[in-house]
Symmetry: C2
Subunit: 421 residues, 2 copies
C-alpha cells in the first residue's frame, strides 16, 4: 500500500509542478475567470454539494464525532453561498504576480527590478472544514500557485465535490485542471508523503488543531507556514485609560474565545491594580469568563481562582483568562517573550514612549497599541483573505494572504553591460 | 565527547539568543561603532593576525593542502587592510532594523506598519577563508543578528584572532560579546549540532564548496540560505547584436571562471549559428576556453569537443563552456528550466518581446537582458556586501545582503479599537 501511495503522490506532485509552470505565466484575467466560474459552479451545484455533505454528516454521526466537529462539517445553502462569495472576493483582489516590489538603477546603467512570482506548489493539509477546499484553493490560484489539497477524511465527500467545482472553473478558463488537486485517498500515509516532497512541494500550510500543526512542523522536510499556538497577551499599563482597557480586554478575550488572536493572559501594572482591574474582572465574570489570577489578583475579587505556573503557558481557546500583576512595561515584555508564542500581543497605554518600548520589545508577529488582539486576521488587515497566520520568521509572518504566497525574482535589464575586473 | 559538544553548543546557542535580544534593540550608532572599532583592531593587531595565520599556513603545508586552498588561507598586510575596509563599508550601510517596509490605514482608524526586525541568531558554516569571519560577522551584526561562526579547521588560528578583534569592537560599543561567537573546537560534531539547533539558530548560511553546501542542505533542521550550484546560461537570440553577444559571452564565461555567476552553457538560436557563433567560439578559444558543443556547434569549429548529456548538467567553474543550438526562445527557456539551477540566466536580444518572454519564463533567481551573468553579486546589485547567493524561494533569493538577513513584524496603532462581530 505504502509504495502505491508513494507513486500516487509522486504523480500528483509532478502534475502540480507542470501546472504551476503554466499558472505562473497565466493571464491575470484567466485566473479571475477560473475563480468566478468556480463560484458560479458552487451555486449551481448546491443540491449535489448538500447531498455529498449529507453522506459525510451521516458517517460522522456513526463515527460519533462531537457536535462541534459536526457543526464545522455541516454545509447548507447559507454556507455554500458564503463559500462562493469568498471565492469572488479573492477573485477581485489585485493580482500579486508580476508586480514590482522595488526597482532601482545602477551607476553602470543596469536597471534592477524585484518582481513577484508564485512560490510554485503549495500543499494544504486540513481537517474537517470542507470550506478550506474553496478558500485555500482560491488563494493559491490567485497567487499563481498550484495546490495539493489533503482534507480530513470526515469531509472527504464534501471536499471532493467542492474541488470538482473549482476544477470546473479552471477548465472554463483554459487553465490546467491539475492546478488544484485533491489527494484521492484518506490513507494517512499520504500526509507523510506530502511532508517529504521537497523539490516538488514548495511550502506546506496546515489548517487545523494543535496536534495536526505539531505533526506537520515536526515531520515536514519542506517549509511550513503555520502557528502552533496563539498565546496572546494584553498588558494594561499604568498610563492606560480605564474605560479603554476594559473595552479592549473584554473584546480581546470574549468576542470569540476559539480564535488564535484571543487574549489568554492579562498583565496589569501594579499601580493600576486597584483602579482599573476590579471593573475589568467584574465585566469578564459577568460575560461568563473564568478568571485565574496570582495572589495580587486573588486579593481583588472573590471569583478569582489561583493561577499556577501552567496557566501562563496555556492557550485556553475558551472562556478562561489568566491575570498577573507586573511591575511596569519591562516585566510585561519579559513575561510575554518568556511565555508567549510570538503571535499577537497588545499594550493599552496613553504613554507614547511606553507604547514604543512595548511594540519594539515583544517578539510578536503582531504588536498592537490600544487595540484588541482579535484584530489578528488577514481580513482585518485588509489583505482580503488569509490562508492562515504564521508565527515563523521566514518569508511569511502574521496573516498569510496572496502576497505572502509569492516569492520574487530579480529582473535585470542592460544594454550590453559586462562586469569589469 | 559528543555529549560535551552538545552541551558546549547549547551554551553558545543560549548566549547567542540572549545577545540577539539585546542586539535587536541596540542603537544603530552602537552597531556602527562596534564595526569601526573592529576594523581598527584588525589594523592595530596586524602582526598578531599574521603570526596566527603563519601557524595555520604551516599546519596546512604539513597536511598537504593544495596551493589554491593555501592561497585562500593566506593573510598579508594587503588582505588584512581589505578585510578592515570591507567591515567599514558594512558599517556605512543604512541600518535595516526598524525601517518601515510599508504602512497603511484601515477604515476603522487602525494604522498598520510592517517594520524590519532582525532574524535572531545566524549560523555561518565556512571553510578555509578566514576573511569570512570578518565579512559574515559584520553583515550579521549590522542587521541586528547574533552570529555563531564555525570556520574550517584549516583557518582555526587566523579566524580566532579575527573574531577576537570583532569582539573587541563589540566591547568598545558596550554590546554583548556573545553577539559574535566562534565554535571553539574543530570537532566536526559541532556542525551536526548547529544544523539541529532549531529554536535557537534561525537560519544557517554555508559558505564553501558543493560538498559542504550539500551536507548542510540535506541535514539542516533549520532554514538554509544557499545555492548548491550556479549552472548559469547565456542565450543568444536571433535578434541579438553580434558584437554585444560576443562581449557578453566572453565576460560571462571568462572574467572569472570560479564564481557562481559564471556562464557554463551557451545557447544559440539556430538562425544565428553561422553569423554570430563563429566569432564567439574564436574569441573563447583565444582566451583559453575549452568548448564542448552539440553536432551543430561541432560543424562550425574544429576546436569543439563533442558534448554529452552530462555537459548540460555540469557546473565547470573552469575555462570550459558547453554550447548548444536551440530553436528559439521557447526551447532556450525549456532547456534552462530543465538543466539549470535557478541561479542566474541571461538573454542577448534586441527584441523586447522576446526578452520579456525569457525574463518571465526562466525560473531563475536572477534573469538578465543584455548583460553578463557575472553581475550576480550583492555588491554589483548595490547591496554593499552579500553573505552569499540563495537559489531557494523562501525569504531570501539572489544576493543575500543586510536587508535579507532581517524579517519583519506588524506594528498596529489604535485608539481603543475593538473588533465587531
Amino acid at each position: 500500500m505504502s509504495a502505491n501511495i508513494h507513486d500516487l503522490m509522486l504523480g500528483i506532485g509532478r502534475a502540480a509542478k507542470d501546472a504551476a509552470g503554466v499558472l505562473a505565466l497565466a493571464d491575470p484575467q484567466a485566473k479571475t475567470r477560473a475563480l468566478t466560474e468556480a463560484a458560479a459552479a458552487l451555486r449551481a451545484r448546491k443540491s449535489e454539494i448538500i447531498a455529498a455533505n449529507d453522506l459525510d454528516m451521516k458517517d460522522g454521526r456513526e463515527k460519533g464525532l462531537t457536535e462541534s466537529i459536526l457543526d464545522r462539517l455541516k454545509l447548507d445553502d447559507k454556507r455554500i453561498e458564503a463559500m462562493a462569495k469568498a471565492i469572488e472576493e479573492v477573485a477581485a483582489l489585485p493580482d500579486p504576480v508580476g508586480s514590482k516590489i522595488t526597482e532601482w538603477d545602477r551607476p553602470n546603467g543596469l536597471h534592477i527590478e524585484r518582481v513577484r512570482v508564485p512560490l510554485g506548489v503549495i500543499g494544504i493539509i486540513y481537517e474537517s472544514r470542507p470550506n478550506v477546499t474553496a478558500d485555500a484553493g482560491a488563494l493559491c490560484l490567485k497567487s499563481g500557485n498550484a495546490a495539493i489539497l489533503r482534507g480530513g477524511s470526515d469531509s472527504f465527500h464534501s471536499s471532493k465535490i467542492i474541488l470538482d467545482c473549482m476544477q470546473q472553473g479552471l477548465r472554463a478558463a483554459n487553465l490546467p485542471q491539475a492546478a488544484l488537486q485533491m489527494v484521492p485517498t484518506t490513507d494517512r500515509a499520504a500526509v507523510g508523503e506530502m511532508l517529504a516532497m521537497s523539490g516538488i512541494i514548495d511550502v506546506i500550510v496546515p489548517r487545523g488543531g494543535k496536534s495536526l500543526v505539531e505533526r506537520v512542523q515536526k515531520e515536514a522536510k519542506v517549509p511550513v507556514f503555520a502557528h502552533l499556538e496563539g498565546l496572546c497577551h494584553t498588558y494594561i499599563d499604568k498610563d492606560a485609560d480605564a474605560g479603554m482597557a476594559k473595552a479592549i480586554v473584554l473584546n480581546a478575550k470574549m468576542r470569540r474565545t476559539s480564535v488564535c488572536g484571543a487574549t489568554e493572559t492579562l498583565l496589569v501594572d501594579k499601580s493600576v491594580m486597584k483602579t482599573h482591574l476590579p471593573l475589568i474582572l467584574e465585566a469578564l465574570t459577568a460575560a461568563g469568563c473564568e478568571i485565574r489570577g496570582d495572589a495580587a489578583v486573588q486579593a481583588l475579587d472573590k471569583h478569582v481562582i489561583p493561577a499556577t505556573e501552567e496557566d501562563w503557558r496555556t492557550e485556553y481557546l475558551d472562556a478562561i483568562i489568566s491575570v498577573k500583576q507586573v511591575d511596569g512595561v519591562d516585566e510585561a515584555v519579559r513575561h510575554i517573550n518568556t511565555y508567549g508564542t510570538e503571535h499577537t500581543d497588545a499594550i493599552v497605554t496613553a504613554n507614547q514612549a511606553t507604547a514604543e518600548k512595548f511594540l519594539n520589545g515583544v517578539n510578536s508577529a503582531i504588536a498592537l497599541h490600544n487595540a484588541s488582539t482579535q484584530f489578528a486576521d488577514g481580513g482585518e488587515f485588509g489583505m482580503g483573505a488569509e490562508i492562515g497566520i504564521s508565527t515563523g520568521k521566514m518569508h511569511a509572518r502574521g496573516p498569510v494572504g496572496v502576497e505572502q504566497l509569492t516569492t520574487f525574482k530579480y529582473v535585470v535589464r542592460g544594454t550590453g553591460q559586462v562586469r569589469p575586473g
